[in-house]
């Protein structure tokens, strides 16, 4: 990159190289290849280091840092678009669903067993279980609702009995 380039030109170069990079990444993700994390971060650090080194050694243009910020935002946005595109496919959704199924297959029996053991321990200690406390809370909620329903009915009756204009 020549030092005579203006920040806007540098920014345009960054943007173009990013667009190309993002495009090739989208292809890679589409083909189900394993992404290279190093490549993902590299432009970010390379451009940052270059901006700082120019700022400290050559006396860069005052808006160079501003251009670097713009580059960062555009770079993140470009990757965001790539990822959104990749995650919006049926393949990705199917993989996500499969992952959730596997997770539930693993966690379901373990949770059930832990709940049973926990309940047994609480029973031995003569303490209420989580389920029992939740049941009690549900009962309170139901009672609260019934009281409210009664309040509404009383209010409606009072309105009916009250003479017009009162």
């Amino acid at each position: 990159m020549s030092s005579s380039q203006t920040p806007d030109e540098i920014f345009r170069l960054w943007r173009d190289s990013m667009a190309k990079g993002a495009e090739s990444w989208a292809k890679v993700l589409g083909q189900g290849q394993r992404p290279d994390v190093y490549q993902f971060w590299r432009p970010f650090f390379d451009q940052g280091m270059e901006a700082w080194s120019r700022l400290l050694t050559q006396g860069a243009a005052p808006d160079l840092l501003e251009s670097w910020k713009k580059f960062q935002d555009a770079w993140i946005e470009a990757w965001s678009k790539v990822l959104t595109q990749a995650m919006g496919t049926e393949n990705f959704a199917a993989a996500l669903g499969k992952h959730l199924d596997q997770h539930l297959s693993a966690i379901g029996p373990a949770r059930k067993q832990m709940a049973e053991v926990g309940e047994e321990m609480l029973r031995v200690l003569n303490l209420p279980s989580r389920r029992q406390v939740a049941d009690l809370a549900e009962l309170v909620v139901a009672l609260e609702s019934r009281i409210e329903a009664l309040e509404d009915k009383i209010e409606a009756l009072l309105h009916r009995e009250r003479p017009a204009g009162d």
Binding site: A94, L100, D101, A134
Partner: protein, 353 residues
Amino acid sequence: MAEGTILEEIERTLKRLANTAQLVAKPTEPEVGQTPRTLVYRRNKSRLYHYPVQGGSPHPTPVLFVPNLGISRPYIFDLAPGGSFIEYMVKGGFNFYLLDWGVFGDEDNALTVDECVTEILPRVIRRVLRHAGAPGLSLLGYCMGAPLSACALALHPREPVRAFVNMAGPIDFAKAGLFTCWMDKRVFDVDRLINTYGSMPAEMVRLGFKMLKPTTDLSTLTNLWWNAWNERYVEGFKALNKWANEFVPMPGEFFRQWVKDFYQENKLIRGQLRVRGRRVDLAKIRCPVLVVGAREDNICPPACARALIEAVSSVEKEYVELPGGHISLVAGRQAANNLWPRVSQWLAQRSRA
């Protein structure tokens, strides 16, 4: 390059280092939700708060604000003085009521969409009218709060709702972007999830929302670094970051119904949704309607919210699309310049004794 600029930048970088070090080493809890309010009504976890008028010429019609149920806490609408939607509204002369659905626990897993629409919302509307001593109110729904409010309105068209605003609330779920794709019934078994966990756990809610835009945390952190020299920015960041990382669970039966009827079958816009045996017909909504879509919204893309305009029978209806995403539409500097004055003016014009 001027020597001053380099020195200035070095000074800023030192401030950045100091402020970020303090954020990590000595994190302080930001104060949120500071606009004065009183509790008007509570039902189980739900709370109805009243924010009295603080200025301007008072509008006769009170505003009931219904945000999303579960997922996140509603203090995003009252983040900090000078950066609060609620404060803006009360200073603009509105008697403002907020329905905070609360943080649900295991005992709430039986809560359904039906209960919210046919019991909680109509009761909350009556409480607002009684408390405000007003003959009617304006209903403001955000995100999930908008379709829930629309259902309540469609089922109870005689409720004295003077105007309805849908702020980034999904209506046509076929257009709800990545969530529609991920929760397709061919790949997402909601029954199995709820039968295993009992609810939609907060951690899974977090994962789902973070996956929608995986670069969000990265851009938040880079923006923090760039602005960390500015103490005011850091304070704002702390409040927003607290909210952005506080996810809350969704009651199991509610989430099951929400996914099946709304996302997977798209019954609301198709006119096939049945609540307590009654069909929800959006065409029964006749009051003035304003729909606000956010241009970069990936939770409720503009077309997803805009569908309400075609579905209602209102003579007076308007759609506006504003810049921003699902959150920046309602909170932050952009919201203060765009959404808040827009909604406030629209409601003020329809407020009457």
